[in-house]
């Protein structure tokens, strides 16, 4: 199985150097080859297991409750203006 590591990394929003790609390529192909072992198993009519335990809905009353304080939520911000996270310009042509 040939993996286009560059393309998958792009999907994952992860920049890789050429050296990283060269190292990861055979490693990932080895891992994929290993996990393909599951194709041997007959899974006809088997339900998928989504979680470590059968899930039931966890309901609670829809009431307003205190949430994380703004200042605390912003304490780890790489850049901020007032009570907002500061980011590079997103929309082409817009004023930054």
């Amino acid at each position: 199985m040939k993996i286009d590591v560059g393309y998958v990394a792009e999907l994952a929003r992860l920049e890789l150097t050429d050296e990283e790609k060269a190292v990861f390529q055979p490693q990932l192909e080895g891992i994929v080859k290993y996990v393909e072992k599951i194709s041997e198993v007959n899974v006809d009519g088997v339900e998928p297991m989504m979680h470590g335990r059968p899930l039931v809905n966890a309901f609670r009353e829809d009431t307003v409750r205190p949430s994380l304080d703004h200042e605390k939520a912003l304490v780890n911000a790489p850049a901020r203006v007032g009570e907002e996270f500061l980011l590079p310009k997103i929309v082409e042509g817009a004023e930054s």
Partner: protein
């Protein structure tokens, strides 16, 4: 005996009798940290001032070392990743609230494989942790800092997390007791997610009784984690009374015991453990879990898939590293992540993204979830026949640094711990003996059904009693 050598029970008894205060206990741990951490590297950071302040305010409390992916308000929480260097937790994880409400105080942040991905702690982006039993060897992982701190007496007890063996394998390597609770038994709120359908927090301690005390404090429903049911938390400590193996049906799965590549000393120690159980009155039952051979493959699809989704939150926007080279939103993501994550994390993100990508989902992730059902059904069936399964915990004792270079070879270390993680049942590693020439600790794994921690701890205690 120095105070830092105590376990939880002994420390609680001493505090209750007024033999020493929490401040003296914490000071002893801090002294030990200064004497030994440069060599062992169990802790990444230790806020001594906060630890002493907490001890002064809670004079009957016992300090617990915290794996560096569990949030404690006001403390760093790096997940041993450069991407979270400098991060300060804005709130307490539920397990930390539970600790504080039950006579414990969080003390020190212990090392781990970056984002809990690894089996040797060599993937930490922030420091090296050595095995206290042989400094040339790894402590195991991913909770290697927790295990080294407990095994090297750098703490009274520690919290670890286990996704595919990350509590049990390092416990085996460092002579600790480690419990991976059943999925849902302990809240994950405030614990940085690796693979959400598998992650569990659990105790890493010097004795089984200490694990029972700590698990009793940690376990229970949390409205902040919808996967924690309302099932009452039994008194795990009381459950240990009269612990015995008499009449206990111990299942011996051939898929774990007749494996090529099992280290001969691990095999000897496991065989001797089985013989001790039989001599103590246990009934040995040969069993089979036929889908075991597919567990590793299932895990290395499901865990990276979930990790790639969970780690998408590290984008340089709200917290964590932001690249100085970012020009626009796209490069903000790609460069911040490239600079922040280490190689194993990158590998797993790519693997996870690949198995979830268009055209491959059904063949990998979808199919893996179905095979996971078959693995769980193996456990359901076998627990109709037996009370507990006994297996090796890891295929080898602690290995040397840089000994396992190929990622897939490293993954095989979790061969025996992964199936029970996928099934969501509870499992433990309990010290069972030492290798002959190298004198390295080796644990055996004991596995019980889902939410059967009471039974598991009782059997662990009985096994501990006959293994001293």
């Amino acid at each position: 005996m120095e105070l830092f050598e105590l376990g939880i029970k002994a420390a609680q008894d001493g505090l209750a009798k007024g033999e020493f205060s929490a401040t003296e206990l914490v000071k002893s741990v801090i002294d030990r940290y200064h004497a030994k951490n440069a060599e062992i590297g169990a802790y990444l950071t230790f806020d001594e001032e906060q630890a002493l302040a907490l001890a002064a305010a809670n004079p009957k409390s016992v300090p617990i070392a915290i794996k560096d992916l569990i949030n404690v308000e006001g403390q760093p929480c790096t997940c041993a990743s450069k991407i979270l260097k400098g991060y300060v937790s804005p709130y307490d994880a539920t397990v930390v609230k539970n600790l504080k409400a039950n006579g414990f105080i969080p003390c020190g942040r212990v090392n781990m494989d970056e984002f809990a991905m690894g089996s040797s702690t060599e993937n930490s982006g922030l420091g090296v942790t050595r095995n206290p039993y042989d400094l040339a060897r790894v402590p195991g992982g991913s909770s290697g800092g927790s295990a080294a701190a407990v095994g090297g007496n750098l703490c009274i007890a520690a919290l670890g997390t286990d996704t595919g063996g990350s509590i049990r394998q390092p416990a085996s390597f460092c002579n600790c007791v480690g419990i991976k609770p059943s999925y849902g038994r302990v809240s994950r709120f405030g614990v940085t997610a690796f693979a959400s359908s598998l992650d569990q927090v659990g105790p890493m301690t010097k004795t089984v009784e200490d694990s029972a005390i700590l698990l009793k404090a940690l376990a229970g429903h949390d409205e902040m984690d919808g996967t924690t049911p309302h099932d009452p938390v039994p008194d795990y400590v009381k459950a240990l009374e009269g612990a015995s193996l008499k009449g206990v049906r111990v299942g011996l799965p051939k898929e774990y015991l007749e494996v090529a590549g099992l280290d001969p000393e691990v095999k000897r120690i496991t065989d001797e453990a089985i013989a001790r159980c039989e001599a103590a009155g246990a009934e040995l039952v040969p069993v089979s879990l036929p889908h075991t051979e597919y567990a590793m493959a299932v895990y290395y699809i499901i865990a990276p898939a979930e990790a790639s989704a969970n780690l998408a939150r590290f984008d340089g926007v709200r917290y964590g590293h932001r690249s100085a080279q970012a020009k626009d939103v796209y490069s903000l993501y790609t460069k911040s992540r490239a600079e922040g994550f280490g190689p194993e994390v990158k590998r797993r993100i790519i693997m996870g993204t690949y198995v979830l990508s268009s055209g491959y989902y059904d063949a990998y992730y979808g199919r893996a979830q179905k095979v996971r059902t078959l693995i769980k059904q193996d456990f359901d069936r076998v627990f109709e026949q037996v009370d507990v399964l006994l297996t090796p915990c890891a295929p080898t004792p602690a290995f040397k640094f840089a000994e396992l270079q190929d990622p897939l070879t490293m993954y095989l270390n979790d061969l025996f711990t992964i199936p029970s993680s996928l099934a969501g049942v509870c499992a433990a590693s309990v010290p069972a003996g030492f290798t002959k020439d190298t004198n390295l600790p080796v644990g055996v794994q004991l596995i019980c059904g889902g939410f059967e921690e009471e039974r598991l701890l009782k059997i662990c205690k009985a096994f501990e009693d006959i293994s001293k």
